[in-house]
């Protein structure tokens, strides 16, 4: 495996497959970002730029029709041309409820999709959609080759327009990619790439140390002290749009008291997030005071006032006054290097505040994804959000809108309306105003408690490679990386 030309990426997350429309986990996103491309792209500055589209979309007067011009001369890996048909096919696939798209909401606003000519697409919208362009930059709306999609299983045999094409893979364990020679853009400097899944971070680090790995795109805080002293390895970080939060389910069947705002407030007041960030994360993150974080569209500093924050005495008083000390709280924690200590820490916090009966349940992350959507599963859970789109509506709608979210179930009409307002206009000010209100409402009503905004830590072999960097959502594009000399 010590192939000199091979760029070795080690991923420490479970990897499920290579169909961009059906996978939404981090590892799959890492892989698919190299193979597929979207119409638009959000650059490091947060600006949306065209990628497979030739220019930014043009909206009609009423904002309900949008025309998109596509780039010419783009080929899929299977040799078929990229055109308006392919885009239409992809979007319709996403819309198709039988298809099982990972993010059907991406096309939720689309009503009709027509091809005007080979490279022009006209989309009729149900409402004026302020998030549309951002959504078209989401990896889950990457354009797939219609022929390939209908002939093969993209999960194991992917085909996109990206700079790298698929060579081989050992299911769930590694993927080998190679440069796509007919790529429309600048040819990547690195030719061959292997992305290997190693769930044990310690082992992954050992690989980095011995030179068997060149790049680890995400490192836990625990790993940092070790990486710092590795010869020829550069440790870097990048603040990200990712937010970790505590979600409280107001209409939980486990403990009906969760419907009580004070009860939820008491829980949030007991959580010492500053200590968590400063000590457990050793300061490798920033304490979050707003659900919509600073790097996400819709953030306002004013919203931070709504954060309930850590208030041990306040929590104690609430618990004592109401006699909640023995109330059972079912605390569902996904297992991962981040969530597990966070869960244990917060459980200790709640206990310190006087909740004696916090039942913490550890559950595998992918099981959490499905099970946390079932009804009587938890009162409080931990979650995180990170989107390529970096749009506040994209954060609030899928997670809390009563029609869309099955997990957090706040069923709040006012909130739903605010979210609706935020997405049905292209006017930025209006959108921000609505998002601010919704954001504050989440925190004031104690539906959610932001914990921290993550930093993405990554490490790479700086002897062999340069220009290695992440985007704000934590993903990376190997085509930007270069070998040293």
């Amino acid at each position: 495996a010590s192939d000199a030309g091979m760029f070795q990426v080690v991923i420490t997350d479970n990897f499920s497959g290579m169909d961009p429309l059906r996978t939404n986990d981090r590892a799959s996103t890492y892989v698919n970002a190299q193979i597929y491309e979207t119409l638009y792209f959000i650059n490091r500055e947060g600006d949306i730029v065209p990628l497979l589209a030739a220019e930014l979309p043009s909206f009609s007067e009423d904002g309900k029709t949008v025309t998109i011009k596509l780039r010419d001369g783009v080929l899929f890996h299977d040799g078929t041309p990229f055109n308006a048909e392919a885009v239409k096919y992809t979007f319709e696939l996403i819309k198709d409820p039988d298809f099982g798209s990972a993010r059907a909401s991406l096309t939720a606003s689309m009503d009709t999709i027509e091809t005007v000519d080979d490279l022009t697409l006209k989309i009729g919208l149900k409402y004026e959609d302020g998030v549309l362009t951002a959504k078209l930059a989401h990896t889950n709306s990457a354009i797939v080759s219609p022929t390939a999609q209908s002939n093969q299983d993209l999960m194991i045999d992917p085909c996109g327009t990206g700079p790298y094409k698929f060579v081989s893979s050992v299911s769930g364990s590694n993927v080998v990619l190679t440069r796509f020679d007919d790529y429309w853009g600048d040819k990547p400097a690195i030719k061959d790439v292997t992305m290997t899944v190693i769930l044990e971070e310690a082992t992954a680090l050992a690989r980095l140390e011995t030179g068997e790995a060149d790049f680890i795109p995400s490192l836990s805080v625990e790993a940092l002290p070790r990486v710092q002293f590795m010869q020829g390895v550069t440790l870097a970080n990048h603040d990200s749009a990712q937010i970790y939060y505590v979600a409280l389910r107001p209409n939980s069947f486990v403990n009906p008291l969760m419907a009580n705002k004070d009860f939820r407030t008491a829980i949030i007041k007991s959580l010492d997030k500053e200590s968590y960030v400063n000590f457990v994360l050793e300061g490798h993150a920033t304490v979050a005071k707003s659900v919509i974080g600073p790097r996400v569209f819709g953030y306002t500093e004013a919203a931070e006032a709504a954060d309930i924050g850590f208030d041990l005495e306040g929590a104690k008083k609430l618990i004592q006054d109401n006699g909640w000390a023995d109330e059972e709280i079912h605390f569902l924690v996904p297992t991962s290097a981040v969530y597990t200590p966070m869960g244990e820490f917060f459980q200790a916090n709640m206990k310190a505040a006087g909740f004696n009966n916090v039942k913490m349940e550890m559950i595998d992350w992918s099981a959490w994804l499905t099970e946390s959507k079932t009804d009587d599963r938890f009162d409080v859970t931990l979650a995180a959000w990170s989107k390529v789109t970096r749009d506040g509506t994209e954060l609030l709608e899928p997670n809390w809108h009563s029609q869309v979210s099955a997990r957090n179930k706040i069923n709040n009409d006012a909130f739903d309306q605010l979210v609706y307002d935020s997405k049905t206009t292209v006017v930025a000010e209006k959108r921000v105003a609505a998002l601010e209100k919704a954001n504050m409402m989440l925190m004031q009503e104690a539906y959610a408690a932001p914990v921290f905004n993550n930093e993405n830590n990554f490490a790479y072999n700086s002897v062999k490679y340069k220009n290695v960097d992440l985007t704000a959502d934590g993903s990376f594009y190997i085509k930007e990386f270069e070998p040293v000399d």
Partner: protein, 303 residues
Amino acid sequence: MTSQATSIKHPGAVSAAFQKLLKNKLATVCFFVLIVLIILVAAAPLVTPYLPEDTDVTSRLAPGFWGKWSKNPADVMKVKADHPLGTDHLGRDMLSRLLYGGRTSLLVGLVSTGMGLFWGVIFGMLAGFYKRLDNIIMRFMDLLFTFPGILLAMLIVAMLGASTFNSTLAISIWSIPSFARMVRSRVLQIREEDYVMAVRSLGASDWRILFHHVFHNTLPIIIVVATMRMGSSLISISTLSYLGMGVPAPAPEWGGLIATGKNYLWQRPSLIVIPGLAVVITVICFNILGDKLRDILDPSLKD
């Protein structure tokens, strides 16, 4: 050898065996190590002021007493007198986690061995005593035996979900067949003994024969097997916990401690070395005790 073999044929055998055991230096050491361990674990609140879940993130990842001699000045500074074994990543006292974790480990080991023993002895006695049941019971045991190693326990946990109780149950089910086999082969011998027939000729019911006579005479072997099984039960529960299928966090358990400690292998190897040593030492003690007991109680078992 023969004098030993006959020596088990009387009722004081167990206590006599114990006396003999204490003549063996190694066994004595093991015995007292276990006694000390049990006392420490039982009296955990007296040994350490901390509860295993008490977090104090300001003094996280502190080294234990050995940090005083560390070459790294940062480590020397971090040493806290009241955390003799240091703290973990959330600043929880390792000594208290070790002791309370030991409670869980030993308890799970004991309960699962006990449950396995109970059913194993019942199945073994029935199979050995009644020819009719023998085939059906033992074929079923064979079936359970076809799941190698910890696989059966994992299957059970996969079915029931991970929890302390379920993993205890899984380990006990897993240990039933080996108990049953041992007991059965002994009962097969005992059944042919004249005294069993003598008691039957007195009109004793099968139940009485089984539980007053056969059972008593299988006792030595049961003690030996149970002691050794304690060791493997302890390994099993820590393995399950290590895999995240045993005692769920944040409750401390030795295997679970090792699993979390692994993330800090480079910063604080003691987090994994100490609970690991605890498991190894305890299991070794049980195994050596079992081994010596076997030499004394049932020399025929020695190859």
